[in-house]
Symmetry: C2
Subunit: 207 residues, 2 copies
């Protein structure tokens, strides 16, 4: 009795709030974010904010879990294909970096909050509908099939993640020390999409 009755306004109030909270929390973190700012961003008032999500923590948890779910399901599903390793690597890196470009605040947001509250990871990981162990089984198979250096799959996994994610969170530093404009930085990332798979394949291929 309370659903789908809106045709003109595309977003429900709850969605508007979550969108606004996402923006603010991603940029400023839990401590830096202000409920008033979120309300303003959502175009509503503070009272309504508390009417939907009773506390700041509730709202934050919703945003945090959503971000976590997004980045992990994206990661775990982009490997779900039957093409050979090199091809798979290309797809994974390309898709994942594209995702990160569109959601550049997510990794920094998650890592920062997680470093401040490492215990939250247990709770928050429950909202991820994909299991990491499955992913590793698949990766292990791919790696063993080919003529490659003996490679610890976990090591490889972390290396791929590092190479994809770090440049995104270190953007301000990279732009400064390389004196990149915004466009030049984007080109730099664009180039990585092509060169990272080569870099990684070289690293693990038998000589």
């Amino acid at each position: 009795m309370w659903l789908n009755l809106m045709a003109k306004k595309a977003l429900t109030t709850e969605e508007k709030i979550l969108e606004a909270a996402k923006k603010v929390f991603h940029r400023k973190g839990y401590e830096g974010a202000r409920m008033q700012e979120i309300a303003d961003e959502a175009g509503i008032n503070k009272a309504l904010l508390h009417y939907y999500f009773r506390t700041k923590e509730n709202l934050f948890d919703a945003v945090f879990k959503a971000a976590f779910r997004e980045i992990f399901t994206k990661l775990f599903t982009t490997v779900d294909s039957n093409v050979p390793l090199e091809e798979k690597l290309k797809n994974l890196i390309n898709e994942y970096i594209c995702f990160l470009q569109k959601n550049s605040y997510i990794p920094g947001f998650i890592l920062a909050e997680l470093n401040q509250n490492p215990e939250k990871i247990i709770e928050v990981f429950k909202s991820v509908p994909v299991s990491p162990s499955l992913l590793f089984e698949r990766m292990k198979k791919s790696v063993n099939d080919e003529k490659l250096e003996k490679t610890d799959v976990r090591e490889l996994f972390i290396n791929i993640l590092s190479l994809c994610i770090f440049p995104i969170i270190a953007r301000p530093m990279i732009q400064h020390i390389f004196e990149f404009s915004d466009e030049e930085f984007d080109q730099f990332i664009e180039k990585r999409k092509k060169e990272l798979p080569v870099f990684i394949m070289n690293a693990i291929r038998k000589k």
Copy 2:
């Protein structure tokens, strides 16, 4: 007339404050840190805190610049040797990861604060006594000397940084998805010290 008169207490009050502020700011960030907590951690009271560093921002800037200086000078000086590239890489990675292990909060702290205030980088980079361009000249020479794939030095530089730093800031996540105890995580990093140089050399060596 106001110096070196202390023999028993190893640290001056100012140093005690800076140490305390470092701990608190590194763990909680600017917004999350409380002046009272810093005072407690330093074993003094709030009044004295403001007596030394008038404002929270002053104190934070001091801590931030110190962290920045530390991590960058360390990075830039570990490449300052005349050994062949592979050796140099081994040294760099080993020394840098050791440094990061001992200062595991620094990279996350800097990246988080820099993402929230990217404009601060200009000011803060002035406190780094080493220039990055010098580093790149040296790296370029090393890379061109050997029989290697044509490699963009900047790309290589970022890759090395990514592979060293990311695992440190992603520690809570890594520990959880790999189900690592603290000891196992340390072993994981220890292993990386040896395997990262191999990984990278393979990646850039001509086949």
